[in-house]
Amino acid sequence: MSSTTFGAHAHEADHGHGHSASFLRTYVFSLDHKVIGIQFLFSTLLWFVVGGLLALAVRWQLAWPWSSMPIVGPRLFAGEGGQISPEFYTMLFTMHASIMIFFVIIPILAGAFGNFLIPLMIGADDMAFPTLNMLSYWFMWPAFVCMISSFFVTGGASASGWTAYPPLSAVDSAAPGSMNGQTLWLIGLILVGVSSMMGSVNYMTTIIQMRAPGMTMFRLPMTIWAMFITAVLQAFALPVLTAALFMQVLDRVVHTGFFVPEGLIVNNVTAGSGGGQPLLWQHLFWFYSHPAVYIMILPAMGMVSDMISCFSRKPLFGYKPMVYSISGIAGLGFIVWGHHMFMSGMNPALGMTFMVSTMFIALPSAVKVFNWIGTVWGGKVQFTTPMLFALSFVSMFIIGGLSGIFMAATPVDIFIHDTYFIVAHIHYVLFGGTAFGVFGGIYFWFPKMFGRMMNEFWGKVHFFLSFIFFNGTFYTMHILGVGGFPRRLADPYHYDTFAHMQGMNQFISICAFGMGAAQIIFAANFIYSIFLGPKCGRNPWHANSLEWFAPSPPGHGNFDMQPIVYRGPYEYGSPEVDTDYYPQTQPPPPGSEGQADGGHH
């Protein structure tokens, strides 16, 4: 097959759309899942930069509190000699977390990779609901505009943390950022929720209804299983968050008082009618946001499984246990939300119950780790950039998973709750885990997205620097946490207990700046390779799953031939064929028995 260009007008006619599409229809309001996926990818990477810069600003303040902050200080706080104000600091970390979680991690997994990969990997020509798909992308921009514009309204951006605990968030007078900024934050999140919900419905329908002939559920790649389970989680958890967000909007705008207790006076202003309970918000919020942490990692786990199997040239170890553990995580994920609230004043007996369920959610994660290591065992490991990122995902996820056990143990949580131990944990899961998985995924599927390879050498430099600086930044935070160092303090060093920790914080900040700088290499490699990277064929990694059967990049409608699936996606090193890979679409040689389903033999 001749290689086709991105957008692939050549295929338009074959699909009977008849009219030639305008530029706007092809690249902006496109209905094509690949274009939408790539739009999601570009946008989320852009937002990643915004979120990252906010994090660096936070790190600056923690390393050198009250010194003039570069770039921001002279522009916003010239009158104070560049020294930022404490409420600006609270806005920085609130917006860092909000943007990273709701605008980077969730949409880059579900939006970018979900969109791009689901139809390709199941052998469909597009999503079930293309218009819904387009809308789900275009709901993200108003959401982001809401978020970022909140920096410019009276009072500034939301300043109550990404968890937005009331009454701080629900009462205007409680914090500067709890004025208009908080309302914009809530509206932004509602829009993100609408976008996620549209995506979720679409993914579930597509995966259930549109699989290619022969693609049974247990022949789906792990990426698709993870996307499917994630979509189910979204569909069940999101309505609760959306309701909670609307309740907080109502509390703020018409003073309904869902979350505001009776007779509260904050900053000498009576806070509405009252009669509510601040803990109610925490229950509702974590009922979504705990499943959401799995929404933020399961797709990356799926992608990593695919990469590890491919570059070990060996079938995935324990395919079905992997599927069951993902499902187990999803199920248990709904009954552990209370472990965020051990110190909240919730009934301590309830805390004990949540502790037990939390302990057991560690189990499926452990099973997955063992299976990944089992996959590497006895293979032929190719140290490509995507493989390095996938391996680092496993390595970092072990740390993130094990540190979770400390928090799950309620008595230990008494000490480490709201300390940097938690910050280290969440970043090991979300950065060392998901973000590294995403980097791997970008290096892995880039040839499919753009028909060109990313540069391997600079990819490895990027990996090396990110890996070193990442661990320098976040591993040390465990030590701070063990010392009791609390989160979200603009200047922790006036406490005697924490005064000696400034040096370590400076080390962490320098590592963080190094990690930020390392991403410039990635950005340069990424942009350069889109235009000038070496061209590649359909299957540069010699992988099995269906997307590699399509042209690179795939044209409109994805496949130039109807894929027919004969086996599971992880048949590497199969004795049935001479090559070390055995694509799902390759018909079995005449006379061979049985088709590998990827299950136990």
Binding site: P86, T90, R313, M352, F383, F406, P411, P486, A490, T497
Partner: protein
Amino acid sequence: MGKVWSFLFLLVPVLGVGLFAWAPSNGFWLPRDISKHGWQIDHLFNFILVLTGVVFAATEGLLFWFLWRYDAKTNRTPVKYMHGSHNLEVIWTILPAATLLFIAIYQMNAWADVKMRKPKDMPPTVEVTARQFEWRLRYPGPDGKLGTPDDIHHVNDLHIPVDEEVLVQLESMDVLHDFFLPNLRIKQDAVPGMSIPVWFRATDTGTYDLVCAELCGWGHYKMKGRLTIESRASFDQWLAKMGAEEQATQEPAAAESEDSQ
């Protein structure tokens, strides 16, 4: 190159364990425990640390070894074409499950001591009301009851007697706060509309930090309190002095001399 990358992954457990070994002797560790219940928390922390440390070193070590051993460049043995092992799956499901169940049961007593077994028939030693951004303290006056005109009010400077059960009634006037005593291994959110009991017994005297550990607004970082633990005698003396100061009708003599620089 494969070997080099394998070593990078070996660095993770080596430096990871190394840092945790280095930290305690260099001043980065759990602050000194001066509470009666704290040893249970520290013990549990150390127990989990050792347990997870072993698992951490083993899994990361295994990952390194497999990467090193099965590097495609040097590995001449053919790929093990297998899809998993039922026996292994059962083993590595049941073993962690049993361990986790053990940890879950093992910790219950410590949790119950700190959060569930409230001392009976005991009036609060002090009422702590958090407010943006200070700790307002109210001790019962000579009548031993809170909410009477002889109550003694104070800010940020919490005094408690040593070697005695102390009951703190924790409240908040505005937003969420968190009453964190690192040395006493005590942490509890203060929630407006709720009155939450916190109890502990200090085993040593001295002054320590009282930290606000739940984001409470722009001034969260400056919501600092000081905990002074002292003998019953000097506590009573301090309380009496505070009570007298609060009823002052004339400028105390000490302040007079300070006045004239």
